[in-house]
Every structure is written in C-alpha cells, then in structure tokens.
C-alpha cells in the first residue's frame, strides 16, 4: 500500500496508507482529511476534491481526461499546472511517498 501525505491549507498533515485502486478522494474523506469534500462520491461531477500533486505523483499520473480538465477550469481556488481532482487519481505502488497539497477552499 502506498503511503500518501495530504497537507491541508492550514498546514495540517495526514499520512494515509492507501489501498491500491482506491481514489485519493476516497482515502482522504474516509480518513477525515477536511480539505477534500468529494461531495459527488467520486463521479467527477462536483470539483470539490481539487488538489495539487507533487512531482513524484505527477510523473506517475496519466494526463487528465477532458471531463477532468473541464472541471479543473472551474475549481473554486487557484488552478495551477499541478492541479488535479483527487477522485480521478487511483492509488498505485509507484505513488509511495508522494505528497498532495490541498487548496484553502473547494467551493
């Protein structure tokens, strides 16, 4: 299980051993990371699981789908080159040690 660290805008850091195949949104919300809302349950419909991925994560990830890109165009906080939706990121062994930072607001 890869260990992934979520850092909230207020600096609060939570490291979670994420089951492979789970989305980062599922892991974060089930484990009480408040900076991710994931209101739609992972359907890529609400853009409330916006996150900023680090270089390690970015290298492993496939490019975002058009649907994810469209949602990212309209996230509540600043969109950056490393912006992704946590519900669209499935955990894999190669992500072990990666860090994901969360924006101050999701809506």
């Amino acid at each position: 299980m890869p260990t992934i660290t979520f850092i909230e805008a207020n600096g609060q850091s939570t490291s979670i051993d994420v089951q492979e195949g789970w989305s980062l949104m599922q892991a974060a919300t089930a484990n009480g990371v408040e900076g991710i809302l994931g209101e739609c349950g992972g359907s890529c419909a609400c853009a409330t699981c916006h996150c900023y991925v680090d270089d390690l994560m970015a290298k492993v990830l496939a490019a975002p789908s058009q649907g994810e890109l469209d949602m990212l165009d309209n996230v509540a906080d600043e969109r950056r080159p490393n912006s992704r939706l946590a519900c669209q990121i499935k955990a894999s062994a190669a992500m072990d040690g990666a860090t994901v930072r969360l924006p101050a607001t999701q809506e």
Binding site: S23, T29, N31, G41, G42, G67, D73
Partner: protein, 422 residues
C-alpha cells in the same frame, strides 16, 4: 451554543454534513448521530452506478470511517430507530424505550422509495434502490439474471431507473424500462432532452416502453416475480423488477410532533422549523420559497448545503441556502449535469451538437448543453458531457447574469466573459 447535546436523526449525507459543520463551527458540546441503517455514513450516488457495476468495492462507499467521526467527538449509533420526538421535554424516544435529551435536534431522515399498488409488488425480487442493502440485493439478482439469461425489468423512467438500466445493459443483460408518462424524466427534463435520452437508451439496446400501463406483476410457484403483465395483454418476462418510481420524504416523526409538513418537513431557507430547537436538512425537507411555494430537492448538494445551514442555525448564526441547485446523472458514457431549475421555461437554446437522430447520439464525442429561458432570463442549463458549460452555468445563475439565447447557442461566444469577476 458551546455546550449541550445536539441529536441528529439520520446518518446520511445531510446528517453527517451537519455534524461536521457543527464541529467546524465551534460547537464543543456532545453530538449524537442516529442512523436507522446498520451502516455508518456512505455515499449513495455510486449505488446505482459504479458500485452496482462492480467497479468499486464496499469499502469505497464509505463517506466517513466511524473512527474518524469518533475522533471529532461525534457519537454514531447505527441500527437505531427513533420513534417519537417529545418537544416539551426536549427528548427523542428510541425503539426499545430509551430516551435521549437534546438541546438541539436535527432531522435528516431522508426519504423512502414509493411503491405501487400492483398485484405481486411484494415479491422478493421486486426491489427499490435507496440504501446500500437495496443495492446489494439488486446486485445479487443481476448476477442471477445473467446466469439464467433473464431480462431485467425497470419500472419508472426516472434517474434511478435509467441508471440501473444503463448499468445492467453494460453487464450485457436484456433490459426493459416501463414508463407511465409519454416521455422519460418528464418532471425534470425538457421534451428535447427526454427524447434524446430515450434515443440513447434505445441505441444501447434497452426495450423502452412509454405510456406503459401495468396490470400486474406475475409471480411463479415460488412467489418470485417472473413477468410483468400489461393492461393491453402483453407480457414482459423478467428475473428482477427494479422499482424506480420516486421517493416520499420521511416526515412522519416531525408531523407526529406537530411540526408543519407538506410532502416534507417545512423549513425556511435557513432550514429552521417553527420550533427554535429543531432544524431539518436534506431529502426530508420542503423549503419554503419567498413566493409561498415549497421546493423539494433530492440531491447531494441540497443535503450538504442544508446540512451546513442547519449547523449554522443551531449555532445562532443562521444563513440562507441560496446557491443554484445542481444535480447530475451518469448513464453509459454520458454525464448529465443540471444547473438551476428549468421548469416553466418558455424558450431554449442548444450549444454544441446533440448528435442528430436515434443511434448516432451514442457517439463518444457528443457534447452539448441546453440553456433554458423564461421571459428572456436564464433559469437552468442541462449539460451532457460538457462539464465546463455546467460549472459556468452555475456561476452565471448564482450571479443572476443571463446570456441571450443567441449567445448561448454560439459556441464561439465565451459565456465565461459574462461572469462577474471576484
């Protein structure tokens, strides 16, 4: 209110949101969340989609792990039925006789699937879809239908029924959808889009029957539903009947306690009832509008937003829920996202390409939005595989800004340019 005991009846999206918003709002007293299901808070939306399809496991439905709630000082009790509210004594009575005193009470009781007065409706393989247990039962039946090559029959061409139909088709099962109205999703979609969805399902091989008049559900010697008989004498054999004919708000507790109910617990725009200690949130509510009408919304957004408002109201900082309603539905590879309420529209404009006639709209590249206007004002936007249009629409509607129908239909016109900055 930084001490006391807030009791939340309901452990779904609205109840969980309220509990967490109470904590983030600074409430330091006790919080008890009572769920009548045996499960802790879980995501309902995937039940008819990814979970039913087997794409995600049970653990991935978990909305909040019970130990995370405990860490926040939220006491979760599952499998608990609340029998009555005693407003004078400020307590709720649970099945078994236990009473819980409250200083604030949140009703987040959700809704119950409607049934139909049909012979055979109580057969064990006639199933609604609301809870995780419902979805588990349907999933098990889908496996049996596949093994025995039996068709799935869906009664009701609403979102739940159509999502189940799409999931069953993806699994290769034969599917018949029976809808009593002349079109699909008639309560929420414009005819243009109803027709488009009918074509979509037919292109995917669904046997879609509109204006369907059902006479009875036929049961076999074992008591299982084996066919649906129609008023015209025709018959649809099946191994499973999924009932998707809407829900009724769970307002019985509130009504019995003397709170105003009208197909839902009547609340103001800050989720308050007439009792200053009682608020209500989510599917169970009927929100009073400025024009005197009542608005019932069954959506994740309504549950989360009313949950936040309910917490704020109990903390003495009432704030209204005024954001544009939004909703979504996944069927096949098409994601419908709705912003605003398009009922009462007198004109519409289509942006993008609806994909032409029957069959061709299964094309992967299809992406469009329908902009609904009333008296020249934008009131709602329905987008299919057009997330950008949807999110822009929410911003336009939140800001009360309307494009003209011509601008909406012109793909070269940047609707984002109309959204006020900051």
């Amino acid at each position: 209110m930084d001490s006391g005991h807030i009791v939340i009846v309901g452990a779904g999206q609205a109840g969980t949101q309220t509990a967490e918003a109470l904590r983030s709002g600074g409430f330091t007293g006790a919080i008890t969340m009572l769920g009548d299901e045996p499960h802790g808070p879980y995501h309902r939306p995937p039940l008819s989609k990814a979970w039913l399809a087997g794409d995600i496991g049970e653990a991935q439905l978990v909305m909040r792990a019970p130990e995370m709630l405990a860490k926040k000082g939220i006491t979760l009790r599952t499998g608990v039925k609340v029998e009555a509210i005693d407003r004078a004594a400020q307590q709720v009575r649970l099945a078994g006789g236990e009473t819980l005193a409250y200083t604030g009470l949140v009703l987040a009781t959700g809704s119950t699937p409607r049934s139909l007065p049909l012979p055979g409706i109580t057969a064990p393989n006639v199933l609604p879809l609301r809870s995780k247990d419902d979805a588990s039962a349907i999933a098990a039946r889908l496996v049996r239908c596949a093994e025995k090559s039996l068709p799935v029959l869906v009664i009701g061409g609403g979102f739940i029924g159509l999502e189940v139909a799409a999931t069953a088709r993806k699994k290769g099962l034969a599917v018949t959808v029976l809808e009593a109205a002349p079109r699909l999703l008639g309560r929420v979609l414009a005819p243009l889009l109803s027709d488009w969805y009918a074509a979509l399902h037919r292109a995917h091989g669904v046997n879609l029957v509109l204006d369907a008049r059902i006479a009875a559900i036929e049961t076999d010697a074992t008591g299982e539903a084996c066919a649906v008989q129609m008023a015209d004498g025709s018959r649809h054999p099946c191994g499973l009947v999924v009932l998707g004919v809407g829900v009724a708000a769970n307002d019985q507790l509130a009504a019995a306690a003397g709170l105003a109910c009208d197909r839902g617990i009547v609340v103001d725009d800050c989720t308050r009832t007439a009792d200053p200690l009682i608020v209500a949130a989510g599917d169970c509510t009927a929100r009073q509008l400025a024009d005197g009408g009542l608005l019932r919304l069954e959506s994740v957004q309504n549950a989360t937003e009313q949950g936040k408002c309910a917490a704020a109201a109990l903390l003495g900082q009432p704030r209204p829920f005024t954001a544009t309603p939004w909703f979504w539905s996944d069927q096949y590879d098409k994601k419908l996202q709705m912003a605003g309420l398009s009922g009462g529209a007198d004109a519409w404009a289509v942006r993008g390409d609806m994909g032409g006639d029957v069959g061709s709209n299964t094309a992967a590249g299809t992406t469009f939005s329908i902009y609904h206007f009333r008296a020249g004002t934008l009131i709602g936007v329905d987008s299919v595989n057009a997330a950008k249009d949807h999110l822009q629409a929410r911003k336009l509607l939140d800001a009360g800004v309307s494009p003209t129908p011509e601008q909406a239909a012109d793909a070269a016109f940047d609707l984002g340019s109309l959204i006020p900055k900051g």
